[in-house]
Amino acid sequence: MKIRVLCFGITKELLGGFEQSFELAKGSKVIDLKQLLLVKNQTFEKLASLRIAINEEYCEDETEIYENDEVVLIPPVSGG
């Protein structure tokens, strides 16, 4: 399945653009997406943290991703 991924902060630069489209096997989980990101750019390993939000909520590594989910990369936040 194709999933659409939105990239904020430094992740936009690591992947070369705000909106990405990735091919993931059906039944893939957040952890699988994280592994794919490492393949795309090893620098992901150097981030202080990387959280994934699906449909505007933070997710665990074991959360399953579905085709029409809004998947968002959340590198370390620095608001305030």
Binding site: F8, G9, A48, A53, G80
Partner: protein, 142 residues
């Protein structure tokens, strides 16, 4: 997002402290505690020229709303306002204001500190610092 007890704003406009204070103040409040963030001019000795704040907007608003609800639940406070600015800011401009009212002041101090501490951990907003010789996403790397 705004109800009787909570005022959340994420905006490109200059933040106005008196707006937050007016929202939280009430005849039965004994005190108001405000946190006003400011943009520091130095990071590790380097001069910061300006900052960009970027947000994943719908989620930033809903995470700020969660913080406000949690604060109302956890502490004996009356009202809370959380305003965050996005876009380009110069030194000494204000990226965030949090105001909390309560009948007894300790609750307002605790809730205000809880709100800013949590905001800095959970709200999807990112700050990029611009220096003379480059730029950096704050906190991204360990």
């Amino acid at each position: 997002m705004k109800n009787k007890y909570i005022d959340i704003q994420l905006t490109q406009e200059t933040l106005v402290l008196s707006e937050c204070v007016n929202f939280v103040s009430s005849d039965s409040a004994g005190g108001i505690v405000n946190f006003v963030g400011t943009v520091r001019n130095l990071t590790k000795g380097k001069t910061v020229l300006r900052l960009d704040f970027e947000a994943y907007e719908p989620m930033a608003v809903s995470e700020m709303q969660k913080i406000a609800e949690k604060a109302l639940e956890k502490f004996d406070i009356q009202k809370i306002a959380i305003h965050h600015r996005i876009g380009v800011l110069s030194i000494n401009e204000v990226p965030v204001i949090i105001s909390v009212s309560s009948s007894h002041r300790n609750a307002a101090f605790e809730a205000c500190q809880f709100a800013i501490d949590t905001l800095k951990e959970t709200v999807p907003i990112w700050k990029k610092e611009h220096f003379e010789d480059g730029e950096i996403w704050v906190s991204a790397n360990p």
